[in-house]
């Protein structure tokens, strides 16, 4: 007759797991040195993942911040330089025609020139832009000293300096202030304003910070070739980017003499940049992942040696009533404890590395929120994955053979 005696497993599972976890930590402490090395491997891997993701994200935020200053509603039209034999592609009439297009808020023509600026003994080759007064409102550039250009400056020899350029023109410790005279293209120009600092916007053909602005109609004094090279457009924020782009391109391609131009919008650039940033982040994470896997191999090594060295212990635990799954759980818990503590140390290390990198690159550092759970999750996943094989090996031992240490 078979008598099945139920074994009361009614005790709480959580308590059992807590006890097993405490046991695992004690076991790890026993092989301190080797555990420490495996832990180091995991820590370095996790640090790499966290640091690289954080750096990637900070880089993206930094490039996005460039657009925030003047908004993402800016578009530019540029002559297609590959066909430069054509006559002047852009003219004043285009400005009025574009302004009339639906969805367009402001249009400013731009003549990009490169000349040498002289102030006393200082000579500085610089970008000079011939602009109309609305340009400053369009790119939201404000004067820190003096004023920006007005309609009344149309015929005057005046110049407004970007903040960075003004600093570079410093002579005897004094940057040029409104009223100072600069010589450009054989004419003295009076400085009427210095702009506030600004972040370069990738969609603009110039860096506002390091450009000297003269009235468009006076650009001819500065350089012989003062054609309008670009049109800068601000669209209404409710207008769809693609529609405005298309109607602008349509304006140039229509008529008897279609003119080749390139129309580019800030949103297009942002999309391209974030695509690129995503690829970079993925690539960086993959590199971190590889180092994490190397760390995982270290964990596997420690665990496998542990299984060999602790055969008698495994046999004894089995004799005392450890089921195969208990033995498996014990080794898994040890692998997990190893990789999690390594992962936590690595996450902190990685954030610190990313902060140092951001500080070095002059970016604002913001800890990447998803990188922490990702780093910890990856390290514990690696621990579990590489701990599984040794744990299975341990749990498959026969109690008698293990007790004899075979």
């Amino acid at each position: 007759m078979r008598r099945v005696r139920p074994i009361d497993d009614g005790e709480s599972g959580g308590r059992r797991w807590r006890a097993l976890a405490a046991d695992a930590l004690r076991n790890l402490g026993a092989m301190r040195q080797r555990s420490l090395l495996a832990l180091l491997g995991i820590a370095i891997g996790t640090a790499a993942v966290v640091a690289l993701i954080s750096i990637g994200e900070n880089a993206r935020e930094h490039s996005m911040r460039q657009f925030l200053a003047m908004g993402a509603d800016i578009l530019t039209v540029q002559k297609d330089f590959s066909l430069s034999s054509r006559p002047a592609a852009l003219n004043r009439a285009d400005v009025d025609r574009l302004r009339a297009l639906p969805g367009v808020e402001k249009v400013a023509p731009l003549a990009m020139l490169g000349v040498e600026i002289r102030q006393g003994r200082t000579r500085l080759p610089s970008a000079v832009a011939g602009v109309t007064p609305e340009f400053f409102a369009l790119v939201q550039a404000k004067a820190a000293q003096g004023r920006t250009l007005t309609e009344g400056d149309r015929a005057a020899t005046v110049v407004v300096l970007g903040a960075g350029l003004a600093r570079r023109l410093t002579e005897d410790g004094h940057p040029p202030v409104p009223g100072a005279l600069l010589r450009m293209g054989g004419y003295n120009h009076t400085v009427v304003g210095v702009l506030a600092d600004s972040t370069p916007n990738p969609v603009l053909p110039l860096d506002v910070d390091s450009t000297a602005f003269v009235p468009l109609s006076g650009a001819r004094r500065v350089s012989a070739n003062s054609d309008i090279t670009n049109l800068v457009v601000r669209k209404m924020s409710i207008a769809a980017d693609q529609d405005v782009r298309q109607s602008m391109a349509g304006h140039f391609s229509a008529g008897a003499h279609p003119r080749p131009v390139m129309v580019q919008s800030a949103r297009q650039l942002i999309a391209a940049m974030s695509d690129q940033a995503r690829v970079h982040t993925l690539l960086l994470a993959a590199i971190g992942g590889v180092s994490l896997i190397v760390g995982g191999v270290g964990v596997m090594n420690v665990m496998l040696m542990g299984v060999v060295e602790r055969r008698r212990e495994i046999g004894l635990r089995m004799a005392l009533g450890a089921r195969p799954i208990d033995v498996c759980a014990m080794f898994l818990a040890e692998a997990l404890a190893l990789s999690l503590s390594g992962g936590m140390a690595g996450a902190l290390l990685g954030l610190a590395a990313a902060a140092v990198y951001a500080w070095n690159a002059g970016w604002a550092f913001a800890p990447s929120v998803p990188s922490l759970p990702l780093g910890l999750g990856m390290s514990s996943g690696v621990g579990l994955f590489f701990g599984l094989y040794p744990a299975m090996q341990a749990s498959r031992l026969e109690p008698v053979a293990a007790l004899r240490g075979e």
Binding site: E11, R15, R16, A19, L320, G321, A322, R323, D326, E398
Partner: protein, 230 residues
């Protein structure tokens, strides 16, 4: 009442051509409350028999019943549960975990029962007290003598209140005075707790004290002694 019954058990070690027959057609009953010595020359199969009795191994053929339950083909988990709750082991080389204190070593079986750690430690402390080591609770094995270590091992074997206590040459690593104390402890536990004891020994003096002797010879139970009941 029979705790453990072997019926026509065969067991060999190794595989195929190299297999060595270790147990041949062994049948025996262990009855509740008895103290039973298993004796025989080296290699006669004593330890293999003890592993089978302790459900650490399975017979190749024949029936093995523990407290009436057929366990020859039971699952590994079921065998582990029975070992945890119904069987206690004492080994020649003590098999204590060196990094744990005496108290933690003795409380180890409770880890696999899900008993709250504090309750497990209380019962372990009480059992260490019972084997005369109440002042050694927090010592590690390396800080204890052989006799003390074996007493810790005995405490661990009986702390879970098993029905059957199995010992494989429990005095093999001890001097004769200490050995006698350990054997005295077995008899005391048998008397106090009613635990059934089966021990493998080389020592004729110890075998002589046991109520029943099973003599192994070349993998077989010696017919003359096997049925002897005092």
């Amino acid at each position: 009442m029979t705790i453990l019954a072997l019926d026509g058990v065969h067991k060999s070690h190794g595989h195929a051509a190299g297999a060595v027959q270790v147990l041949r057609d062994v049948s025996l009953d262990i009855r509740q409350g008895e103290v039973c010595a298993i004796v025989g020359a080296s290699g006669s199969g004593k330890s293999t028999l003890l592993s089978l009795m302790g459900l650490l191994d399975r017979p190749d053929s024949g029936r093995l019943r523990f407290e009436g339950e057929e366990v020859g083909a039971a699952s590994a988990d079921r065998l582990a549960a029975l070992r945890n709750r119904r069987i206690g082991f004492v080994f020649q080389s003590f098999h204590l975990l060196p990094r744990l204190t005496a108290l933690e070593n003795v409380a180890l079986p409770f880890l696999y029962r899900g008993v709250p750690p504090r309750l497990g430690r209380d019962r372990a402390a009480a059992m260490l007290e019972r084997v005369g080591l109440g002042d050694r609770l927090h010592h590690r094995p390396e800080e204890m003598s052989g006799g003390q270590r074996q007493r810790v091992a005995v405490a661990r074997a009986v702390v879970g209140d098993p029905a059957l206590l199995l010992a494989d040459e429990p005095t093999g690593n001890l001097d004769s005075a200490t050995a006698r104390q350990i054997i005295d402890l077995f008899f005391a536990l048998n008397a106090d707790l009613g635990v059934t004891v089966a021990l493998v020994t080389h020592d004729p003096a110890i075998a002589a004290r046991c109520g029943r002797r099973l003599v192994m010879r070349d993998g077989r139970l010696d017919g003359a002694a096997s049925g002897a009941v005092p």
